[in-house]
């Protein structure tokens, strides 16, 4: 029931918004839809928390600790983003950067995107998971090119092609998976249900699965934005409208990583080796290093934070690859706190670039003086994202690092170099932007305060206190991913 509301609302509101178009109350409908979705997500979470994993809809849906917390996260961040985009988009309209048609398009596509992501999370069918991922890509491609500037179109095209190619690889992997599964489970839909697969994973044919994993890795890895498959990500993030950048790096990457991890579990079960883990660690470490060094030379603010997203996805991937209770726990937590922090950073960044009507960091100055919320929001957000206590990112990085020293001491130096460089690079850029006196060209605006404050408070709380149910969730999730 909850499931239907959860998926239905976003789909319905997508349709409604397509019809409503650019009325005055369109943003409110957008917010309302995602708010209801969020509530449904909460309901679902409580349900799962109370009575354990749910299998519903003729085994079509499967909800366990792992994906339910991502579901809640997704619906929550999409809600806050909707709230943010209300003021942001209004201003974009007033400054004539986009017209009526595109607003309509934006809203309905936004909801469709959420629907796709929720579907990807909740479905039990690995094939449907793939379809949903593809749908998520397609629904955002045209949002990335919303501004119709040459660079925007270029970015969108690259996004489209690269992710399309990647996802095609993932499909091939899925086919191979099915090929292996059908030997054990027989033909038909049963053979692609994750619940069944995970039970028989040890019987699946290892050679096939290790082959399949390569394709799945490349496919979903492209969407996670792992180096060297990451090239679409900075472009898409920097050119799209900021709310989309927020959900892209806050949510889409998470979902892709989720898909990847699900597959890894199967492969590990089948091969019984840790090879998949090693591959993921390699990709993760490479992403951390490349991203953190690329951070040093960024001029465009959104691009910079896109790279930081790559870095953090790298960290999470690395941790999942590392395995073991603490690392996995850290990785799950990292997905959570990163998406909260990064999306709130993007909110502030969006406003900052609106205030100076540019995304060039060299021309953004004196934010704290100009608009304290934006300035402090950005400052604290960056402090959080680089892993300063008492924010949540520190907690996860603390766990991951300490686990790394234990299990892969030789990799720690590289990991650390990455973290240190990223820290220096981000601060080098952000400090002058927030501090100092405001330039004359700076315009004032009504910022969307609620999302930023909400996210930062959550991240802060997660940094110093983790509620019992959450930790229990993570522990069960860790059990699942063993």
């Amino acid at each position: 029931m909850m499931l239907l509301i959860l998926l239905g609302i976003s789909l319905i509101s997508a349709i409604i918004l397509a019809f409503v178009g650019d009325r005055k109350f369109a943003p409110e409908i957008n917010i309302l839809g995602s708010a209801v979705t969020f509530l449904a997500g909460l309901g679902l979470a409580i349900q799962v928390y109370a009575q354990g994993p749910i299998i519903a809809g003729g085994k079509f849906f499967f909800v366990d600790a792992f994906n339910v917390y991502l579901t809640v996260l997704t619906s929550f961040v999409s809600m806050t983003t909707a709230i943010f985009s209300r003021r942001y988009m209004r201003r974009e309209r007033e400054h004539g950067r986009i017209g009526h048609k595109r607003i309509r398009f934006y809203h309905s596509m936004f909801q469709l995107f959420i629907f796709a992501m929720l579907l990807a999370l909740l479905t039990n069918n690995v094939g449907v998971l793939w379809i949903a991922m593809e749908l998520a890509t397609l629904s955002t491609v045209l949002l990335v090119s919303l501004y119709r500037t040459p660079t925007a179109i270029e970015a969108a095209w690259k996004y489209f092609i690269l992710c399309g190619v990647g996802i095609a690889q993932a499909l091939f992997g899925t086919v191979l998976l099915y090929f292996a599964a059908e030997k054990v489970l027989g033909e038909g839909g049963e053979a692609l249900l994750w619940t069944n697969l995970s039970q028989v994973s040890d019987k699946l044919e290892p050679t096939v699965l290790s082959l399949a994993f390569v394709f799945l890795m490349v496919g979903y890895g492209t969407k996670v934005g792992l180096v060297p498959l990451h090239n679409w990500l900075p472009d898409a993030h920097s050119e799209g409208p900021t709310p989309i950048s927020a959900v892209l790096s806050g949510l889409l990457l998470n979902i892709a990583l989720y898909a990847l991890v699900r597959c890894k579990v199967l492969v590990d079960g089948a091969t019984g080796t840790h090879r998949a883990g090693y591959i993921m660690m390699g990709f993760g470490l490479l992403s951390i290093l490349v991203a953190s060094f690329s951070l040093l030379r960024q001029k465009d603010i959104k691009r910079m934070f896109a790279y930081s997203s790559i870095e953090h996805m790298g960290i999470a991937t690395f941790a999942f690859g590392l395995g073991g209770p603490i690392a996995t726990f850290g990785a799950l937590l990292h997905m959570l706190v990163h998406s909260l922090t990064k999306s709130s950073i993007f909110f502030t960044v969006g406003h900052a670039s609106q205030m100076h009507s540019t995304q060039e960091m060299s021309r953004i100055r004196g934010l704290i003086k100009g608009n304290p919320l934006v300035g402090w929001g950005l400052m604290l957000g960056v402090m959080a994202i680089v892993g300063m206590p008492p924010f949540g990112v520190f907690t996860s990085e603390f766990l991951i690092l300490t686990a790394t020293i234990k299990d892969a001491p030789l990799l720690t130096p590289f990991f650390l170099i990455g973290l240190a460089v990223a820290f220096a690079a981000l601060f080098r850029r952000v400090q002058p932007m927030v501090s100092g006196s405001a330039p004359s060209s700076q315009q004032s605006l009504k910022a969307a305060n609620l999302p930023v404050i909400l996210h930062m408070i959550l991240v802060l709380i997660l940094g110093i206190y983790m509620p019992d149910f959450l930790s229990k969730w993570f522990h069960t999730a860790v059990e699942l991913l063993k």
Binding site: V128, S145, R148, I153, A156, G164, V165, F179, E182
Partner: protein, 219 residues
Amino acid sequence: MNLAAQINSILAALILLTAFGLLVQRRIYGLLHLFAWQGLFLSISTAVVGYTAGAHHLYISSVLTLLLKVLLLPYILYVLIHRLQIHKDVETMLNVPTTMLIGIALVIFSYHLTSPIRELSTLVTRSTLAVALATVMLGLLMMITRRNAVTQIIGFLAMENGLFFAATSATYGMPLVVELGVALDILIAAFIFGIFFFHIRTTFDSLDVEQMNRLKEED
């Protein structure tokens, strides 16, 4: 080796041939035709497999293929090409022989890759999996070597064909839900790239993707 298997392998060979053709064909119409042919072979082979294996949902998917890949998509592309008035232009490519060699190498490589699976499989179609993988790879190679947006899309769709073929040859087709979903996605994709062609054309007044290189780090 029974008849069905023979037919199937012939079709596989044809598909591979078309894939190579796509790789080296300069004229845009030629590409379109080759693509349509490939789709046709694909749907036929699907039907054949469905018949021999008695997997009846494969008929549906073969029909689907026929509609989508042989009729609809080529038609859309045709219309687009006309609208964009690029049916005349001939694409310059980096030298063909090397591309061919790489392509052949890829075929061998994918054969080597799929050999363990062939041992495992009991299906009549098992030998064709290598071809499927090769088609995918060739599609990717095509996207790399071509500079025109339309040809890139065709390469992308060729990859999809390869995947589809893999699905039918390795396993008797994916579950129907998945088939339908994939088809739907491809349809949406088709619309999207349709829109894109116009955007690109209007902003860059040509469909050469080489022009799209403003977003970069190096300076």
